[in-house]
């Protein structure tokens, strides 16, 4: 059985990430969520709050992936330009979404009402639908294969919750980890041979240095459980035969 691979890209938008002020959390968060949906995060770009940079990145990412996500730049302030940039990339106007406006009016009913800045968060590229946001008033936005999410990680997470199970995907990537107290350079050839012997399986080697000792975790990935299991068993046997103790699940 051949199953096609579904891919997604992420465009992280924000001067605060590129200045080093804010540690991004959305790459890892989206990657993990996508995998459960059977979709592979294939590439990420991080660009500043500048329309030309956003449009250029969107043009590349949305055309060669099944899905394209953005995070950041959808708040009420002047530096929030994602919706305008997405509309420019798609060649559509920006319109006020009536349902989004109603959501904001409800959310801000006891908090001074909807002013001009808050109404900015009801603006969407024409043709868009909304992504529910259980955490704050402003919804996410879907337009075609583009998903516009908040930059604040727990709000982005709420929007992903709302999307769970709604995107078509393929098989999730399964993985298993074996750990060894060994320098990876001692077993590099062994790893290469184990990977070569199992088509459809990849092995990643991730070294570390802890408690004064070097070690490595070997992450085996495949989309089919029997392939994964066979490779893990083989790799463990090779490591043990070479004289190393293997920690199932990783160190």
């Amino acid at each position: 059985m051949t199953v096609r691979t579904w891919t997604a890209a992420l465009l992280v938008i924000g001067d605060e990430i590129l200045s080093g002020r804010t540690q991004d959390r959305n790459v890892a968060q989206l990657a993990s969520w996508l995998n459960v949906q059977g979709i592979r995060l294939a590439e990420v770009r991080i660009v500043p709050d500048r329309q030309a940079a956003i449009v250029e990145a969107l043009d590349a990412l949305r055309t060669r992936n099944d899905y394209c996500f953005t995070t950041g730049g959808i708040g009420p302030t002047h530096d929030d330009i994602t919706v305008d940039a997405v509309a420019a990339a798609l060649g559509v106007p920006v319109v006020v979404h009536p349902e989004a406006q109603a959501m904001l009016e409800a959310h801000y009913a006891g908090r001074g009402g909807v002013n001009e800045a808050r109404l900015r968060m009801a603006r969407v590229p024409e043709g868009a639908t909304l992504i529910a946001n259980s955490q704050s008033g402003a919804p996410g936005i879907r337009v075609g294969n583009l998903f516009i999410l908040a930059g604040v990680p727990h709000i982005a997470a709420a929007m992903l919750d709302a999307l769970t199970g709604t995107l078509e995907g393929g098989l999730p990537v399964l993985s298993a980890t074996l750990g060894c107290w060994v320098g990876e350079s001692e077993v590099a050839e062994l790893l290469r041979e184990a990977e070569r012997s199992h088509a459809g399986v990849s092995i990643g080697s991730y070294p570390f240095f802890r408690e004064g000792r070097v070690g490595a975790n070997f992450v085996v990935r495949a989309t089919e459980q029997p392939l994964l299991d066979a490779c893990v068993e083989d790799l463990a046997a090779r490591l043990v035969a070479a004289g190393y103790a293997v920690v199932t699940g990783g160190i």
Copy 2:
């Protein structure tokens, strides 16, 4: 006085980042380091351990930025393909660097010597020079405006230490932060006007939700101290006039 802006790009290479297994730390680390050198991190891409993806990204990033950094993929195992991909992007062969080989021989002298896997870490694109690594045996690599660093953050940090003060840059971006317990949508117009009134200054608004209250930090950025100070003073005055308490340094 007009000072040109120096820019850098970062290419993060690694399946482990795109799978969500590993939280990237190098974007923020490099961004902060670059700023001290007077260089702006202008864009970031994250790609898998696949040569075509690496080459495509390098072609774009290295030609339109003064400097281009890579992290990841320079270890001894089969999934470490950065050097080969960089050489392919530059159209040069891969050669063993004698000085790197000597470093590895010294490092592994009491640890079983240099085997084939370890010797992989002495391979460089032809014409490259080395970047000292005080943390482990394998050096970083400089070739033209490309800087090839380790993916493990503390080793990348050691390589950046070795580069400190060696790259030509312009003025660092100065920043100052004002915090307010206010929803950013209440002061969006005020922020926009403050930014408009101060050419050469940008204001970023970063909302948060803590202890049951909404707040925001406003980060003012400029390359000249008097410009920065004038905008900060003006913004603080506008916020106070609107009835908000301002926390200098941010919340």
